[in-house]
Symmetry: C2
Subunit: 329 residues, 2 copies
């Protein structure tokens, strides 16, 4: 492996000079510069970024913590982040918590010890330990999707999105609307979306039966199971619509309903949230909400970059969303 010293020796200069050439900094004569550049090319020398990072306390890497690596949401967000940071020659170090809370905290420490210059977290929950860990890490930090106290956060407007979907169902004459959600440890997806639904139902004085409320785990299969429970448990009082907090669970629910011979949306309407590719191509096309995940990633990256350059006050940004009306309602 060639190092800066090798180059220096070969060029008959000090390594300081080589460093100056490499970083375009300070005075270097034309002929020395050319000589060095030529050697760099010939030897294929690339500076050791560990050494550089050790000295400069900057790594050029930003850490991204994902709840699950292979989801459409995650990959869209990452794509947005990447688009922004790669322009400034930053790399992304990816970690995957597999929905494990402790790992979130573990990774924050890990990323810190890897000298990342900043962290973006796709959060799935809020807890004291987590905010504590973020505080002690003392790094530029952005959270996407959850409103973490003391942390600049990019938020989806879960409450209003859910309310809008519910309202839209109501405007289609639905009065008996069921709900497939997720656990409330996830304050955004599990909490706010449910509130949006419940409040809207209440405002419209529509009764809700316990059997209509089911809780899944984000997966298509769990959507299927929840729909089954809803149908089985409320035989005498079937809902005419089901609001699912994610597209995938909505797809699962549709699958079950179709198997059972229900026609969508005639017998039962369905809507989801997420605007997955899937939602567009199922039949009937799924009514859903576009959260502009990629844009959230871009925004997060921009904020992070800004925060890295200059300490900024913590802020909250609520993203807009778009209701996509299709055929399932």
């Amino acid at each position: 492996m060639t190092t800066i010293n090798d180059i220096a020796k070969m060029a008959n200069v000090s390594r300081t000079t080589v460093s100056r050439v490499l970083n375009n900094k300070g005075y270097v004569s034309e002929d020395v510069r050319d000589r060095i550049l030529k050697l760099v090319k010939e030897t294929g020398y690339t500076p050791s970024l560990s050494a550089k990072s050790l000295r400069t306390k900057k790594s050029g890497v930003i850490g991204v913590i994902l709840p699950k690596i292979s989801t459409e949401t995650a990959s869209r967000v990452v794509s947005g982040i990447n688009e922004v940071v790669s322009k400034e020659d930053y790399q992304i170090l990816l970690t995957d918590t597999e929905l494990n809370k402790e790992k979130e905290i573990e990774f924050i420490r890990l990323l810190k010890s890897r000298q990342v210059d900043g962290i973006i977290l796709l959060a799935t929950n809020i807890n004291e330990d987590l905010t504590q860990a973020i505080q002690t890490a003392d790094l530029p930090f952005i959270s996407i999707g959850q409103d973490l106290p003391g942390v600049t956060s990019i938020l989806y407007d879960d409450y209003h999105a859910a309310a809008d979907v519910t309202n839209m169902m109501i405007s289609h004459q639905h009065k008996k609307i069921a709900y497939i959600g997720v656990g409330e440890q996830d304050p955004s997806v599990g909490g706010l979306r449910k509130e949006g639904y419940l409040d809207t139902m209440a405002k419209n004085e529509l009764p809700i039966h316990n059997e209509w409320i089911q809780e899944g785990d984000f997966s298509i299969e769990s959507g299927y199971e929840c729909a089954k429970k809803i149908i089985k448990n409320s035989a005498s009082n079937l809902p005419t619509a089901i609001f699912c907090v994610t597209d995938r669970m909505a797809i699962g629910a549709m699958e079950y309903l179709r198997e059972q011979g229900f026609s969508i949306p005639k017998d039962i309407a369905i809507a989801g949230i997420g605007a997955s590719t899937l939602s567009k191509y199922v039949t009937p096309a799924l009514t859903t909400v576009d959260y502009f995940n990629k844009h959230a990633g871009e925004k997060a990256a921009q904020l992070l970059l800004a925060q890295m350059k200059k300490k900024k006050p913590k802020e909250k940004f609520v993203q807009s969303y778009r209701l996509i009306k299709r055929d399932s309602v």
Copy 2:
């Protein structure tokens, strides 16, 4: 930021001893060990991995080069890689070439200078510069999806998969089979799959018309456009089936055909490759080929890890696949 020196001072020992505790290496007395561990916990000290990596020449990071970050294939592969490497406490450094050939090479150099311990490349093309760059990087290296000379590669059996799909169509009495492919700069997807199709047609003495062969760019939209061209240009001689080399293009083609009032598979049958989630939930469900991408990622990671521990001869592994017969043929 606390360093190993701070801990050493506080514990009244040398930093050598602290290092020994941290790495569980060499002799340390119980009481010193406890004292140090306690301090580590109290201060929240995490060792600088840049320093460590500078000294040890190992970074605990493996680089992954993707053609496009937000695709189902990529995220499945990454998920597989992650599953394996995270068990051994490696992290993934992700890079995204955005289908840009030069970036592939640039990233190899970049990852090298970041001291990654190995690289996994989801290759989309083969060229001299690329194999050259891999050679000079001189790092443990695995390619997925393309047979790179001199590089351990995990390959999908594109030729036989395509032949199988074509044969299956033929066994359903199709004689006029069209083809939607991609450019042959991608030897696997563009080259081998096409060969599989062409050879199978030839073996069965089935004629192919030029208008039946179209080339897209992996996107759903391009599938749509290709289908349009096929239908428009061969009005007098419509195919009864279209084989698409990717699911997404198949979905696009289906969309166009549906718009035009064709019934699938009665009027025209369709099949893809990739076993995307999408393929399962479109109507009619798409016949496709499962390439076990996640498994490919796992395998790649295992091979890479093995290669990192011990120099291994370069090998080629051809993965198996599974034809998934659904309703679109």
